[in-house]
Amino acid sequence: MNQASPIQRRTIAVLVDNEPGILARVVGLFSGRGYNIESLTVAETDADKHLSRITVVTSGSEMVIEQIKAQLDRLVPVHRVSDLTQEGPHVARELALVKVISKGNDRVEALRIADIFRAKAIDSTIGSFVFEITGSGEKINAFIELMAPLGLAEVSRTGIVAIARGEKRM
């Protein structure tokens, strides 16, 4: 039934009560029903109201995406579900820490490329850098790819956080 329509990628923001088990509920829903999670981030965003915001990047047919949103909305501690991709323009960013271990020319080249990508070296030793880079997922992918031959050793990524452009609020 669902295979007919093309697979789409969506960034969905979910406002939830920051309570124990909420992440398990959301993740369990995705795994239990066989939905994809490409990335998922969560942190408290309103300490007074104990609200957290989850950003999940998922993919599926139109029908599956509608299901995902309806299923999320059905969870008792979920306040709002917002399909940022569908609802209009939004900005999405990811942060990555990239460790590069190299010497000589490779080291110089790594630093040069980091500069082009506006990545910051936030830790350095004689033999290594840790770069901090933010941007779209694609930009980070590109950066990592370029670092690969230059001593790429380790990557830690946050996953996407996103917010609607303009005056619109969730």
């Binding site: 939830v16 029908m63 008792v76």
Partner: protein, 606 residues
């Protein structure tokens, strides 16, 4: 004024134990009966229970029985069923019942004991991660870690269980919380901040739906358990809408009773073992009005061949049910009763404004339906000696037809489908069966719960011998509380439904579907303190049924039926509605109907 209110004030704010808070909340929520089983972690609640009279506790013989009993109680009354079990194995034994209630949208609050908060996570004695285990088994669950939240959580649990699409809710109660003290707070009047199910349909959606309905030439009302959950008023509205429009009505397994079986507009159940007329009407309709059903795979058969030429309206209180399996044209989110009343009002308005439903088209649609009806799809090969299971149920139906107080539960298998086909329900809440999960062992404890709620009614568990053994221990509960439950076993010595599938799909290799050494059910009944009756010949059936009813005690009937009977009609998994297999008495059966062997695609489906 102030002197009058002062005592209650102090009473309400005086600290009481967590266990007392639990019971007070239950009483305030209108609970009268709890089905439970004690253990270390819930001893404080049992101690508090001992010291009060407002709540009745029914001591089951295994926790699985407690949940099914609460389901029977809930389904037959419309109230929330309440379960109390201990931590660890008490909670894990309850899980099947919770999933059963989840699948069938039955309101349950299940209180589980838990090890004290400071031991949680330490693999303490009888510790289980109950909220973890039951997260996908419930509509929602809570672990109370601070006694200050206890009252609020208790009230919220009931609100969540019974509102919106009803379902099971677990409240996990660590022992130190039950023994601590704080003030009780009554149910809050404020709305829940995040959980707000939508019950009133959007008038625009209703208008679009009725647009389609007014123009329909070949309509059908496809009704389900959502109408039962909405309450008896919703059934009345359905009957009114059906007669106002003249539309034929079919119902899912879960919806039986929402439309009186005796009503000429009713076509019987649809789906895998539904009637020929119901399934072909669904297949051929041009406008389908689904009220409170969820396009279950047991109903739709092969999805890409399901009712291919219809425009579909789907009203459901749960937005996630809409467009899940079947894409519909007009989604309506709302409570079934509200939707039906809104449709009635809109239809009347349209007609008053001059809209003219196509009466001629409807009449010829009915003519077509009547030819399907004449096929007499439930006919079976009669016998003069051996008891056909269908015959036993026909007799049970005939003998009890005049009564208005008959409640039927079932186990799972062929007998369940025959009960759905042959028992005639004129009202909602009279039929309790495990539809979504198909849980063998449901019917006996469920009947017990029904009988607790309706002490003078005739409550019959239409059972299979294999299923009955799955919760047979509850006969002991039934005897303890003097519940005159009737366990009506259609004993074919086979897991009949499994045998039927093996016959049709696996070359009649009856792998492990026959049971040797079954107990003597008459003696078993007597051992428990019930009355045991047996019929082995056709001529004995009426006498046994009459005696079963006359005896004002729990009765187990061992109805020894034809071992090889199959349940028809049948739409094999993966087949379309118009590829139905009819029974051996049908003149075209085997040739025109069953389209050869079942496809490989169908074989993988359950």
């Amino acid at each position: 004024m102030s002197t009058a209110s002062a005592p209650t004030q102090t009473q309400d704010t005086a600290p009481i134990t967590g266990a007392e808070i639990v019971l007070k909340a239950l009483v305030d929520q209108g609970v009268e009966v709890i089905f439970g089983y004690p253990g270390g972690a819930v001893l404080p609640i049992y101690d508090a229970l001992f010291q009060q009279n407002a709540l009745r506790h029914i001591l089951v013989r295994a926790e699985a029985g407690a949940v099914h009993a609460a389901e029977g109680y809930a389904r037959s009354t419309g109230k929330v069923g309440v379960v109390l079990v201990t931590s660890g194995p008490g909670a894990t034994n309850a899980v099947t019942g919770l999933v059963d209630a989840l699948m069938d949208s039955i309101p349950i609050v299940c209180l589980t004991g838990q090890v004290p908060t400071h031991l949680i996570g330490n693999d303490a004695f009888q510790e289980a991660d109950t909220t973890g285990i039951t997260r996908p088994a419930t509509k929602h669950n809570y672990l109370v870690k601070d006694i200050k939240n206890l009252s609020k959580v208790m009230h919220e649990a009931f609100h969540v269980a019974r509102s919106g699409r009803p379902g099971p809710v677990v409240v996990d109660l660590p022992k130190d919380i039950l023994m601590g003290k704080t003030a009780y707070t009554p149910a809050p009047e404020t709305k829940h901040p995040s959980y707000r199910p939508r019950t009133e349909p959007d008038p625009r959606a209703i208008a679009q739906a009725v647009d389609l309905m007014v123009k329909a030439k070949k309509p059908i009302l496809y009704t389900g358990g959502g109408i039962v959950n909405s309450g008896p008023e919703a059934s009345k509205a359905l009957i009114e809408l059906a007669h106002l429009t003249g539309f034929p009505v079919t119902s899912t397994l879960m919806g039986l009773g929402v439309m009186p079986a005796a009503d000429p507009l009713f076509l019987g159940m649809l789906g895998m073992h539904g009637t020929y007329e119901a399934n072909l009407t669904m297949h051929g309709c041009d406008v389908m009005v689904n009220i409170g059903a969820r396009f279950d795979d047991r109903v739709t058969g092969r999805l890409n061949a399901f009712s291919p030429n219809s425009r579909k309206i789907h009203a459901d209180i749960d937005p996630s049910s809409i467009n899940k399996n079947v894409r519909v044209d007009i989604p309506v989110v709302g409570d079934a009763g509200n939707v039906l009343r809104a449709m009635i009002a809109e239809w009347k308005k349209r007609v008053a404004e001059g809209a003219k439903p196509d009466k001629k088209a409807l009449a010829s649609w009915w003519e077509q339906i009547e030819t399907w009806r004449k096929r007499d799809c439930l006919a079976y090969r009669k016998s003069t000696d051996i008891i056909k299971p269908q015959y036993a149920l026909e007799r049970l139906q005939a003998i009890t037809a005049a009564r208005d107080d008959v409640f039927i539960t079932t186990e799972v298998g062929q007998h369940q489908m025959w009960a759905a086909q042959f028992m005639k329900f004129q009202k909602p809440n009279r039929w309790m069966t495990s539809g979504g999960l198909g849980t063998m062992g449901y019917g006996l404890p469920a009947a017990m719960g029904v009988q607790i709620a309706h002490p003078d009614a005739l409550v019959v568990d239409v059972a299979g011998e294999a299923s009955t053994l799955m919760n047979i221990q509850e006969l002991s509960t039934i005897v303890q509380y003097r519940l005159p439950v009737k366990v009506f076993i259609l004993n074919n010595q086979y897991m009949g439904m499994v045998r039927q599938w093996q016959e049709l799909l696996h070359g009649s290799r009856y792998s492990e579907s026959y049971m040797d050494s079954l107990p003597d059910f008459v003696k078993l009944a007597e051992a428990f303190g019930c009355v045991g009756l047996r019929a082995t010949k056709l001529g004995e059936v009426d006498a046994v049924i009459n005696e079963m009813i006359a005896v004002k005690r729990p009765v187990v009937v061992d109805m020894c039926v034809d071992q090889k009977e199959n349940c028809f009609p049948m739409i094999p998994s993966g087949a379309a509605h118009n590829e139905m297999i009819l029974g051996p008495t049908d003149k075209d059966a085997g040739s025109g109907s069953g389209k050869g062997p079942i496809s490989e695609e169908g074989m993988v489906l359950v």
